[in-house]
């Protein structure tokens, strides 16, 4: 039995009614294998996979795609529906959520604003690849060039003949009715931008020539999956060229593209998008702090707090190519003046960001003590050891802590200002109820070590005049305070394992199955062998066969349903 399994069993046994502690998308068996030092599977196991995905673009992907296909200043007038978070990730929710009428209405608004700008008199020379013979007549050759060019970029594959003909017909009809050739192009572009082939990443599959009876994504879908994974945006011209030329099927061809993308600054956007999702920063949309208790918390702080953590992550993991586990102990951070008020530190830079370093005497420890973690997982008027402990387990260790029962009595813990009391004391009273105690054994030993930070993230030595007891434990390891907690996370084998799980699940947009456990173990071993460097892990995923492997629906696999045109399913 591995060390981790032992710890999980201990946790579960101590959890009373909280025996539901489970890995979210991670089987106990996999964790066992992953943490067994004798089993670093450095050879990629036989690919096991899921069905091809139908994934909706996230807001950040939509915006990045439009910026890359056209330009960053092309206006996107519509609003975006809130992402559906499933199994801890909005990335998984993109393949599970529906599309509401409101959302489609907003996509329509955006499509019209984008198309109007792109084909406007002011900008058409920039975006339209040809000049029509006359503005008041339909130029089929020019229209075809425009539609083929943007069809490829927006659909992430060449248009079918039917699609090309349909958009050409739209362009011609609009030109006839409205008079202008570019007005025709505008409506053809609106049609493409409203198409589910743009709004959704529709993966298509083909038989894998290297493995009899197996299926894989076609080259265009592989390029799209790769691009959104490594850049959070649409394939660039070079990647589309490579996909069209069959380079991704040739030895070295895929590696060349992967290394090219990983070396580009665009990879930072992918890392930001992933951690924004993993750390659940969408929660800031709903975060409220009582201004009479936390006057320094405002919208600037909410904005900068997210950026602080993302900057720290990018500079540590990408710029410095640091060890992922050190994110929980690093003293380096980034600050703005609004953040400095809560951290109570000077920030000389008047407008913008400056890199800073926690002093040796500081109680801060890596991203665990960032405002983005401390404030996001607290109540509007007080800190919460329970919310913090629960969130850290779920977000960083991939462990699920059950929600409290509906009839729980919060009286004791809500008496925040009771003289002479601390959160530890109040929780002890609350936990006298065994119904509550089970789950709190999982959350509070973590969260109470962060009690030296109030609900907005400001340091405090005492609560209600009482010195704080910051002792705690994680997976059997005892420690004190936030720095001890940071070290415990740094050393916990579930920390990198969870990142591997979440990064891979984010990349493929679905939960993993038990059958994929050997592959995740392989990734974990590669991650460890590369010093827990995130770019190396991303490279390992991007170069693996499994990343592109798919399992067709039974009907297709049995050959009962014919494949579509161009040999794709």
């Amino acid at each position: 039995m591995s060390r981790l399994i032992t710890r999980l069993s201990t946790l579960a046994a101590g959890a009373g009614l909280c025996l539901a502690l489970v890995g979210a998308g991670t089987s106990a068996a996999r964790l066992e294998a992953q943490t067994d030092a004798s089993a670093p599977a450095m050879v990629e196991p036989a690919a096991t996979s899921g069905a091809p995905a139908l994934r909706r673009l996230t807001e950040s992907q939509y915006r990045a795609t439009i910026a890359d296909v056209f330009a960053s200043d092309v206006p996107i007038a519509g609003r975006f529906e809130r992402g559906l978070r499933e199994q801890g990730l909005i990335a998984i929710g993109t393949s599970m959520g529906g599309m509401s009428p409101f959302s489609f209405e907003q996509y329509d608004i955006s499509a019209r604003s984008i198309a109007a700008d792109v084909t406007s008199e002011k900008r058409r020379a920039q975006f339209v690849p040809c000049k029509p013979k006359a503005e008041n007549a339909f130029d089929a050759a020019c229209a075809t060039k425009f539609i083929d060019s943007y069809g490829l970029k927006l659909f992430r594959r060449p248009l079918t003949r039917d699609e090309q003909a349909r958009f050409l017909a739209v362009a011609k009809a609009a030109q006839v009715r409205l008079g202008g050739f570019h007005q025709g192009l505008e409506f053809a572009l609106v049609g493409m931008l409203q198409s589910p082939h743009f709004l959704m990443r529709m993966e298509r599959m083909e038989k894998d020539p290297a493995r009899a009876g197996a299926w894989r994504l076609d080259a265009w879908s592989r390029a799209a999956r790769l691009s959104y994974f490594l850049t959070n945006s649409t394939p660039d011209d070079e990647l589309l060229r490579a996909a069209g030329a069959g380079d991704l099927d040739r030895p070295g061809g895929l590696q060349q593209q992967v290394d090219r993308l990983l070396a580009s600054p665009r990879v930072e956007a992918a890392v930001r998008a992933f951690f924004w999702d993993m750390l659940q920063f969408d929660g800031f949309n709903d975060l409220f702090k009582d201004p009479s208790i936390y006057p320094a918390y405002n919208s600037n702080v909410a904005r900068d707090a997210q950026e602080q953590t993302l900057r720290t992550i990018v500079s540590h993991l990408v710029t410095d190519s640091g060890d992922y586990r050190d994110l929980f102990t690093t003293r380096k951070t980034w600050l703005t003046r609004p953040l400095g008020v809560i951290y109570r530190v000077p920030v000389a830079t008047r407008n913008g960001w400056e890199q800073a370093e926690y002093s040796a005497a500081s109680q801060r420890s890596g991203i665990l003590t960032d405002i983005s973690m401390l404030a996001l997982h607290s109540h509007p008027g007080r800190s919460s050891a329970t919310l913090r402990g629960k969130s850290l387990r779920e977000i960083l260790l991939c462990q699920k802590v059950p929600d409290p029962p509906a009839n729980v009595n919060f009286t004791a813990v809500d008496q925040v200002t009771r003289p002479g009391s601390t959160a530890r004391m109040r929780l002890a009273e609350h936990n006298a109820n065994p119904v509550c105690a089970g789950c709190h054994k999982l959350t509070d030993p973590i969260g109470l070590t962060l009690e030296s930070f109030d609900g907005a993230g400001t340091f405090r030595a005492k609560e209600n005049g009482v010195a704080l007891d910051l002792s705690g434990s994680l997976s059997g390891t005892k420690f004190t305070g936030a720095q001890g907690l940071g070290k415990a996370f740094q050393e916990n084998p579930a920390t990198p394992t969870c990142l591997v799980d979440k990064l891979y699940r984010s990349a493929i947009g679905r939960a993993t199955s038990d059958g994929e456990a050997p592959y995740l173990d392989y990734l974990g071993a590669k991650f460890a062998a590369n010093g827990y460097r995130l770019p190396a892990l991303m490279r390992a995923i991007a170069l693996s066969r499994t990343f592109y492997a798919v399992t067709p629906p039974p009907a297709v696999a049995d050959g009962k349903k014919s494949t579509k045109k161009e040999g794709s399913s």
């Binding site: 201004p291 006057p295 320094a296 405002n298 951070t333 600050l335 003046r337 609004p338 400095g340 008020v341 951290y343 109570r344 530190v345 000077p346 920030v347 000389a348 830079t349 008047r350 407008n351 400056e354 890199q355 800073a356 370093e357 926690y358 002093s359 005497a361 500081s362 109680q363 801060r364 030296s452 340091f459 030595a461 005492k462």
Partner: protein, 420 residues
């Protein structure tokens, strides 16, 4: 100290409280300091927690930013015997007087608006034709001006002479303090105490709006400080704040924000000080602060300025900043804006200076030449070779909260736009 980040800061960091300089003017501000003088708990030993003191004093430095700033004056005329001869008449009284003379009658064909404008121009014009707000010395003392004459009016402030009146004080009498101690030098109150604009509900009673909207501010930095309760020798820097005060959503200043000192050394006064029993005092220093009203830039000057600030348990400092303001500087900053500058430092257009000056006079209830002569009459400091006093004792109430004071480049990112 346990919980701070050592930012990579270009230069020295002071933990300070910043103070706003005051301005005056038609722009009316609601003072948040108590409308009437409150006696600071000077004798109480502050019960600041060691943790808070550790947060404020870091590496021998502590900083504060002014969040409240106003003239320290005596009681309102209606509540005291300060103005037995009534209130200062101001421009309105001069116009009423003019109406009784032939040249104050409406002329045939003259519109009402033109008539009122002519009356205003007449009372603001010297016999030689110069405007009296821009040339107040060309006019005579205002017969309707009323000085505070009551003999035992308690006023806010501190003793700038530290006990006895020096020979060069031009015979002005001190006031008893609100704390019961004699010797408060506050001749500015004698000048304005009978003016409607300087009553507790008046327009010139505070400068919060401009200060909190970032037009100007005041910082105080303590160096070589070990304790906020007792420290016999500390370095004290009073400077202009180059940054706007950081506020909460309900517009309350936030403690522990960072502010940069003005890069112009003229706006930075360094002196020695001490904290005894939780009360900070300093050796006299010449202080110059910014004052901005309606885009008109002037300086608020104090010669031989002193501080007396009580350290409160919440880490704030509260008390008085006082000194002698040269009469001409006081006239320029508070009454006639004859030397007002633009943001770029050029002399403001004459029309802007005229309008600002006459607007102030109307809003606060005085005549420009009357103010100038009253300041001269009440001056009690810095006598010239003839023995005539050239400055007037001025007291400000001030409150500051903990802040970080830094030395850094303060050029605005919009500077290139400003010099176009």
């Amino acid at each position: 100290m346990s919980n701070h980040v050592a930012g990579r800061i270009r230069g020295k960091v002071w933990l300070v409280a910043m103070a706003g300089t005051c301005l005056l003017a038609p722009a009316i501000l609601a003072a948040t300091l108590p409308a009437k003088e409150v006696v600071p708990a000077a004798t109480a030993v502050p019960a600041m927690t060691p943790e808070l003191e550790e947060e404020i004093v870091r590496g021998g430095q502590a900083g504060f930013v002014a969040t409240e700033f106003a003239y320290a004056l005596g009681p309102d005329a209606k509540d005291s015997t300060a103005c037995p001869a009534g209130m200062t008449g101001g421009a309105r009284a001069l116009i009423e007087g003019l109406r009784k003379r032939p040249e104050g009658q409406r002329r045939e064909g003259e519109t009402p608006q033109a008539f009122e404008r002519r009356l205003s121009q007449t009372i603001n014009t010297a016999p030689d034709g110069r405007n009296l707000c821009l040339n107040p010395e060309a006019g005579l003392p205002d017969p309707n001006w009323r000085m505070v004459t009551g003999s035992n009016i308690k006023v806010g402030g501190i003793d700038l002479d530290e006990g006895g009146k020096p020979a060069g004080s031009c015979g002005q009498k001190d006031f008893p303090g609100t704390d019961g101690k004699p010797g408060v030098d506050n001749q500015f109150y004698r000048v304005v105490g009978c003016m409607t604009g300087f009553q507790s509900s008046g327009a010139a009673n505070g400068f919060q709006t401009e200060m909190l909207t970032g037009s100007w501010g005041i910082l105080i930095a303590l160096g070589k400080v070990d304790s906020l309760t007792n420290d016999p020798d500390i370095e004290v820097t009073i400077s202009a704040n180059a940054d706007p005060v950081q506020l909460s959503a309900d517009r309350k200043p936030l403690a522990f924000a960072t502010y940069a000192v003005d890069r112009d050394p003229r706006y930075r006064a360094v002196t020695r000080g001490r904290i005894v029993g939780g009360v900070l005092t300093i050796d006299p220093a010449d202080v110059r602060l910014h004052n901005v009203v309606n885009g008109a830039y002037t300086d608020r000057v104090l010669r031989d300025a002193r501080l007396r600030l009580v350290v409160n348990p919440d880490g704030s400092l509260e008390g008085h900043l006082a000194g002698f303001t040269p009469v001409d500087a006081m006239y320029d900053v508070q009454f006639g804006a004859r030397s007002a500058r633009t943001a770029k430092g050029d002399l403001a257009p004459e029309r802007a200076r005229l309008n600002t000056s006459m607007g102030r006079a109307g809003a606060l209830g005085y005549s420009c030449h009357g103010a100038y002569h009253a300041l001269r009459q009440a001056a009690d400091g810095h006598p010239d070779a003839t023995g005539r006093c050239t400055s007037i004792s001025t007291q400000y109430r001030i409150r500051l909260i903990p802040a970080f004071v830094v030395q850094t480049q303060t050029q605005s990112i919009n500077a290139p736009l400003a010099v176009r």
